[in-house]
């Protein structure tokens, strides 16, 4: 057993047996560039959730960005370089967990498109994609933590982020986890599945349309009567919070689902 453990630690057992990875639930945490810069508490919360669930969490120090800005802007070359970098950093992990639907969607759905003409890379990227999960998806499907955080006496509403919902099928997972938080009450808002208007560079190229879409989202949030809107993607968070505060709402909180679940709010 000790030998096994050392081999895993040195990261040398990758091809020999994936079973030993399973044993230790070695999870690579891709925090994403936006969490890293804008709201590190989400990264820490995700780390805590995974560790509490018994995972051995690896945070590759060289990680930066998944390449999505380049990919969505039509710059395949930039996207490809960053995708290759990410694959190298996380390939040795049994699982890759991402506290963002859009970045997890980039890895799982779009990396294969980035490498569509490179059979060798395509095979690698597909293997990685199969092991990549959005955080709440991982916590409900794979890690299944026994306990939950301390109570949170608040009424929340959940905004389904587009990529998580439509590329990965993340819908029930965060709701199942939130339902276990003592005191928390979830009310659904109108059009919870409609885009908030972020869309990456769309938000600065078409600021007026983007803001108009955010405005509709904020109106639905306020109409739901929730004290906080909970979601799973940084882009939507910045967009919704920015618009809420601008329209004078300083009360409605905007929280990442990891923050709520880890009790770091």
């Amino acid at each position: 057993m000790t030998e096994f453990y050392t081999t895993v630690r040195n990261g040398r057992c990758r091809a020999r047996s994936l079973a030993c990875y399973d044993f230790f639930m070695r999870v690579g945490l891709f925090v994403t560039c936006l969490v890293d810069l804008m709201r590190p508490s989400i990264g820490l919360a995700a780390l805590k959730l995974l560790e509490d669930a018994g995972c051995e969490v690896v945070v590759p120090a060289a990680q930066t960005c998944c390449g999505q800005p380049g990919w969505n802007s039509g710059d395949r070359e930039s996207a490809r370089a960053l995708a290759e970098k990410l694959i190298g950093e996380f390939e040795e992990c049994r699982y890759v967990v991402v506290p963002s639907g859009s970045c997890a969607g980039m890895i799982r759905t779009h990396f294969p498109e980035v490498f569509e003409n490179e059979p060798e890379m395509l095979a690698r990227v597909k293997r990685l994609g199969e092991r990549t999960y959005e955080l709440t998806e991982f916590l409900t499907k794979v890690a299944k933590p026994a306990g939950v955080s301390a109570g949170f006496n608040v009424t929340v509403t959940y905004h389904d982020s587009c990529s998580g919902l439509r590329e990965l099928g993340v819908k029930a997972h965060p709701r199942q986890l939130l339902a276990k938080v003592p005191g928390l009450k979830l009310v659904e808002m109108e059009e919870c599945e409609t885009c908030c208007g972020f869309g990456g560079t769309f938000s600065i190229k078409y600021g007026d349309i983007s803001s108009a879409m955010a405005e509709k989202k904020c109106a639905h949030i306020q109409a739901s009567g929730a004290q906080a809107v909970v979601l799973g993607d940084l882009g939507c968070m910045l967009n919704i919070e920015g618009r809420l505060r601008r329209r004078g709402d300083t009360k409605t909180r905007v929280l990442h689902v990891a923050e709520v679940l880890a009790g770091e709010r």
Binding site: R39, P40, G67, S73, G74, D75, G199, Y206, M213, R245
Partner: protein, 477 residues
Amino acid sequence: MHAQSMHFKPRAAKALANETLQSNLEKFNSTGFTALRAKAVAEFGPELFEKLRGEGAAIRDRGLASLDAWIERFEAEATRRGATVLFAETREEACELLLEVCRRHGVKKAIKSKSMLSEEAGVNEALEAAGVTPVETDLGEYILQLAGEPPSHIIAPALHKNKSEVADLFAAKHRAPRKTDIPLMTREAREVLRGHFLSADLGLSGGNFLVAETGSGVIVTNEGNGRMVTTLPRVHVCMTGIEKVIPTLEDFSILLRLLTRSATGQPISNYVSLFTGPRGRDDRDGPEHMVFILIDAGRTGLLGGAMQEMLRCIRCGACMNHCPVYRAVGGHSYGWVYPGPMGSVLTPSYLGLENALDLPQAATLCGACSVACPVKIPLPELLRSLREEQVERGLRPRRERLAIRVWSWVAQRPRLYALATALAARFLRLLGGRNGMIATLPFGGEWTRERFFPAPTSWRTFRALYAARPKRLRRTR
């Protein structure tokens, strides 16, 4: 139709500032087709409908894979049943063919049922220039013909107008007392149109599908005007795109189930008209002459290319009904015949990428359109491919391309990246001030015009915080 697709941004800004339009759009969004479609799908059974979507996509793909053969089959069958089949390579040629038909049959007045292709080809302008009076008989199109406006939606062309605007228009154009009761307004329009129906020499329809095995054209309508247009006048011309040819009637039955549910949430439309050849010896009604004009106008250019999947489109409008951008800015912002996600693919494909620079960009790639599409067109992927083509052809602003490249260059150098983000966190946090909200974002002015930009919540990045953890709690490989 004169294309304005290069002016999306200013047109969208105008639409956002137009309060009447916004309230009309709001009404459409809250009571419109999306809810009706959702109900229809729920009644049909969501899983069954998913299966049906797969079948629909497969049928369209099968047809497109050997489109040339199916077109020949259609031509042979339609000709055998007494119709004439003409082909036009361009929109101009299509109009010329139509005018030729008008000349041959001495046509003075043409009644029309709804056809987006006639908008695409500019048929009304061409007819008027040749001295033939075109009369739109679809109520929405009729309203727009009176108002001199183009449609803003492919199946609900006048949704940008409200009842009171239409009441004013009718009062002015019909020279009748202003009415605001919808049945009365409709009756007034019907009375005007009745005369046109009876006095027209030619009926011009579009075609939702052309069935190859029987040589039939199909239109799917709700008002009944389509049936009058295709049966009353001496001559019936059906004008449609070559990609509308489908192999069999069986295929049609599946596509019909998808089309009406996706479009208006109806299990079937009020009228489904199949027309096969002109009036036969024993028929009591129908046109004496029946002409199909099949138009290419850029469609073959999409075959075999990255945009081929777009040719599957059956024009239901579900993508725009579900598009949050369309719902915010309306159809006229897109500047040409086809609005919304399908338009953002079709317009640059047919008119040239350089003539619709904003359209592939003006999308959040949220995916709502592709989930609703009855034939599973991967619209966000197609838009993204168009963006890639824009970059390859140097059609994007230099600053934008440079910004992405610099970002990628820095992100490939973790140490430099860590330094840059550490500085950025401090800088942005300072800008955010006490309430943590940035009111004017440097290099991102459009963001903060009507929004704040939330500042970072910590002076230090996640990587810095993680590195500060005790060593035994850190795993970096």
